[in-house]
Symmetry: C2
Subunit: 619 residues, 2 copies
């Protein structure tokens, strides 16, 4: 076997060449006495022509057979403009079946109607579909583009531990029982955050890693048990330098992978503006429909919901949806959605024949209606959706409606790529449940220099040097400048209400490290899977992961996770499927007792020794 | 802060330039009224000169303080040829302390006498030592060189699952309990072997991955809980094409990273020759001292150990060590080593004053002695070490001695790099314990075409298309061509004595995949950590891993593994530290009984109901 060419690479210039090809039978058909086969490899498809002398040998050849073919390239009479190789075909002189194939449970073509479960069970066939190969090859092109950029800019790739320490912070850890220290566990990393900061303390200055990260959370289309993070950290650069360099990386990425020039610098939007105008911290600004503040218009309103919101210090905000006249049923659905997103209600007003309609109209004054129409420039056929509530609640609820309406009206164009930064996130959020300030990002995030005095007076107003990179309404990644001064760090812990002991337990060795000459540093991390999903125009993460898990965390192909042998559990001193009752029983056994339930339903402990004595006496 | 240059990059050409530098205080000393500081960053060290005006402000500045410095480059009077920046120094005009540092528990310099445990506990300081930074940067250079080669040759990098299925084959799995399916476990991958073969079935043709792999085995200097594998698989290439391409990759690697041209093609040595001449399947051929077969010389011997070996079908083999006259104590040690490596004994003969000495000499004939001297060309001062045993045992024991002697005599030069392939490994080994043939590599390894008839008649003689890449006595990596035909695969399973059911349990979905058009394929995998260790001249894997584990599998810095909260165990329905006895007890209780030990030591079961009744009656 001595393959001379890739099938998809042959062109009219190759006419007359003797070639030897390999690949899979994509299609087989006959036309008169002749047989035609489309032979597929990773590079594409080429048409083979067999004269009738081959008929007998071709009889058994089916789709997905692996062939080795010798022949000559010739110009095609009936050219196929849809195929890159459509100008030519191969006159076959000889061929071999390298390997036969059973009938495949799904058709190997870009379009498929196979169920998700079938696709996952026979993933090796699903991945044989050219569209899936292209997606995974694009994923590789993405990593290569980013790596090349980072290598060129002096970043060092450093692998951080896959088996680390479990910390109670953040999402749920995946645990790995230790055999050498039974009863103890490693945790799979949720992110290399601590390690990358330690690498800055170690003086590496510029670090990156394509790091596999793990979170044991419930899964859905855009979440998997594990994901790949493009993890970056730098020393001695300020926020602006980091953002600019990152923009260059993404500009190169879009050029390399999509052939698109994106403008830099990206729009930088404060978190407050993002919430105010888009009602979300990851605005999709491919379309307008911005949130507008209507509080001024209704400052004297007697409409009860509006009045209440304003009296309680809230706001009245709205979005205008053009060419949209929702039915009562649709209004009901919109209202339910608004409530689901935290609003106490929704007012929908429709502009028809130069007049505003809607159940709330009767409660509004003439002037309010006129002001609304003129301020929002309402024209016939458009509607306005209004929420009155606390600022954050009103923004969030309207932002969700805005996103839904944008999707419904086809305003989210897949071939448009709008990058922006959201910056100046708040340092703290007030936790009602814990009755204390908690970090919005993490406690090592640097507060903005000019806001440091506010730490003592009004922590809720303190903004940070944190930043999120947003593309088309998705958070691609984010990061922050980190605190590197001990005094400041201690003040933050104080505001978070952490005791010395809690600090030690939660952050112990990490805090120690900061005392030995820590450089100013900051960084960010991108979700590689999400980038690949968006750039490849996929709807699910499962399309850009070779062997993904389903929503139950299962791999239908290998049937992982599975039960394991007792000997494996013995080596780890583990017991599985232990209920709370059994756990209590285990504890009792450890103390030489057993828990029993008396006939009257009461639970009591009996010593094993006592039982043994009683039994012995019986004999 | 606006850094203009990297410290290590300044040269005489920069004289007169105004620069702004950042970095760590590596050394501080005063000379008369002047102060000198060596300022270190990732790129190197530069000397700063402070005039006496700075004395007061410099008073508190200690080693590892982080400084920001403005000054002018000037030529040095007392040049330092050991420093790349040794021709110049910086006259400081102003400086700031960016961050102070406590006294470090280890000195930040290439040479260290800090204990391994201290180095690991303060790993971020250990990594600040320039020599450690260089090692990790070399590791990155290695990955970059290999990636660039693979990208250039059309390989697609594809990530395979980190959470897979546990299989009873091979080494011990690290397990990850599943929360969504309690009682079940994922396994961390020991290698992506099955996945990469599935990717060939999926038609990717050329795959690679820098894959994190996990084996829960006891640790030592050259083993960690996890390691990084450069994993490669190809379709439609034969063994020779794969080896040639790999050689080109390694040639580029050596050029890129070490600046060395290594000759290709590499020596290809059959497994049999490797064992015969070097007594090991990963020969270090930087030095000679080859194993020589002495069986012919001693074919009529009456020396009992030799006679016995030959009569039992074994061999007599020896190595000549020049300039080596071991004392009786040394001979005792050598003999113990030989026995530890499986030999039944060792004969040591020393050539002195033209005569052979040694306790065995008196049992050898004049002719045997003369033949030995002339065949081995023995000269004064050299010794010959002889083992008589079964072929494999004799080779293995002598091979180990050869390696020890090579090291002891300084023949393993660190700056010499000798690559070779060991090929034609046996397909099967006979397992005495299981009384059946077992795979030497894995059951999917392709037997050599010409040996296929031997499968029926003499399986032990069947050689495979498997290959190991050896550098300086280390196995850098290895792989094989894989079986892609169902008939052949079934025959192999038959020889291995596997039933249909066992095949299904062990290899299930993988076997199914092979029926849908599998291309001929093969590949290999390299141990990245080991490559980095050898090329950086390190003695331990811990030197080329940023945050390694110690021999107890612990990270002394973060103190992983650690105990976890009960709530985490509850979510997984797990109980820890459960002994085999407790497990039995739990099982009994589940069945409504309890196991007790009677006073006479007998074990018996008592029903919980019975105990409850007895207890109730007591009240």
């Amino acid at each position: 076997m001595n393959r001379t060419d890739h099938n998809g690479a042959l062109r009219i210039e190759d006419e007359g060449r003797q070639v030897e090809l390999v690949g899979w039978v994509s299609k087989k058909r006959n036309f008169g006495a002749m047989n035609f086969i489309d032979l597929r490899d990773r590079y594409g498809i080429v048409q083979l022509v067999f004269d009738e002398g081959f008929n007998e040998r071709l009889k058994d050849v089916r789709q997905e057979y692996v062939l080795n073919v010798k022949g000559t390239v010739r110009e095609r009479k009936d050219k196929n403009p849809n195929l890159l190789t459509g100008d030519i075909e191969i006159i076959v002189e000889d061929f071999d079946v390298i390997n036969p194939a059973k009938v495949t449970p799904l058709i190997i073509a870009d379009e498929t109607d196979a169920l998700e479960d079938t696709r996952m069970k026979y993933r090796y066939l699903d991945l044989r579909r050219p569209i899936m190969q292209e997606k995974l090859m694009m994923r590789h092109a993405i990593t290569k583009s980013m790596r090349d950029f980072l290598d060129h800019h002096d970043f060092v790739e450093i692998e951080t531990p896959a088996l680390g320490r479990s910390t109670p912070e953040g999402a749920r850890d995946f645990l790995v029982p230790s055999r050498m220290k039974p009863g103890s566990f490693y945790a799979l990393p949720q992110s290399p955050q601590l390690y990358k900061q330690l690498l800055m303390i170690a003086g590496f200055e510029r670090y990156y890693q394509f790091a596999r990260c793990f979170r044991d959370e419930d899964l859905r289309a855009d979440r998997q048990t594990d994901f790949t993070q493009v993890d970056i950290e730098t020393s001695f650069l300020d926020e602006n330098q980091i953002l600019s360099m990152t923009e260059e990386m993404l500009k190169k990425l879009m050029k390399d992978v999509k052939g698109i020039d994106i403008p830099t610098p990206f729009l930088r939007m404060s978190w407050e503006d993002a919430m105010n105008e888009y009602g979300i911290d990851k605005p999709d600004n491919r379309f307008g429909m911005k949130l507008q503040d209507l509080s001024e218009i209704f400052k004297n309103t007697e409409f009860v919901p509006f009045r209440k919101a304003l009296d309680e210090g809230g706001v009245i905000k709205g979005i205008v949806v053009e060419d949209f006249a929702p039915s009562n049923k649709e209004i009901k659905k919109l209202t339910a959605d608004a409530k689901k997103n935290g609003a106490s209600g929704l007012v929908v007003l429709k502009m028809q024949d130069g007049k505003l309609n809607g159940s709330a109209v009767k409660s509004l004054s003439e002037k309010e209606i006129d002001d609304l129409i003129s301020t929002l420039n309402l024209t016939d056929g458009s509607s306005v959706l209004i929420v009155s509530d606390e600022w954050l609640k009103a923004c969030t609820a309207l932002g969700a409606l805005r996103n839904d309406m944008g999707a419904a009206k086809g305003l989210k164009k897949k071939d448009e790529f709008s990058f922006l930064w959201v910056v100046d996130f708040p340092m703290f959020e007030w936790s009602e449940t814990e009755n204390r300030w908690v970090s919005q990002h993490h406690p090592f995030t640097m507060p903005k220099r000019e806001d440091i005095p506010l730490l003592d007076t009004d922590p809720g107003k303190v903004k940070t040097n944190a930043y999120d990179c947003v593309l088309n309404g998705y958070e691609l990644g984010g990061g922050s400048m980190r605190i590197y001064e001990n005094d400041l760090q201690e003040k933050i812990f104080e505001i978070l209400g952490l005791s010395e002991e809690q600090i030690r337990n939660k952050f112990g060795f990490f805090i120690d490290a900061f005392q030995y000459g820590t450089p100013p540093h900051g960084g960010l991390a991108f979700g590689l899977d999400r980038i690949a999903m968006i750039l490849s125009g996929s709807d699910s993460l499962r399309d850009i992961i070779a062997f993904p898990k389903n929503a139950a965390g299962r791999d239908p192909m290998s049937d992982a996770p599975n039960t394991v042998d007792d000997i494996q559990l013995d080596e780890l001193d583990l017991a599985v499927n232990v209920s709370a009752d059994q756990r209590k029983q285990l504890k009792a056994i450890e103390e030489g007792k057993v828990l029993i339930t008396l006939p009257d339903g009461k639970e009591t402990e009996v010593s094993l020794q006592e039982i043994a004595d009683w039994k012995a006496a019986q004999v």
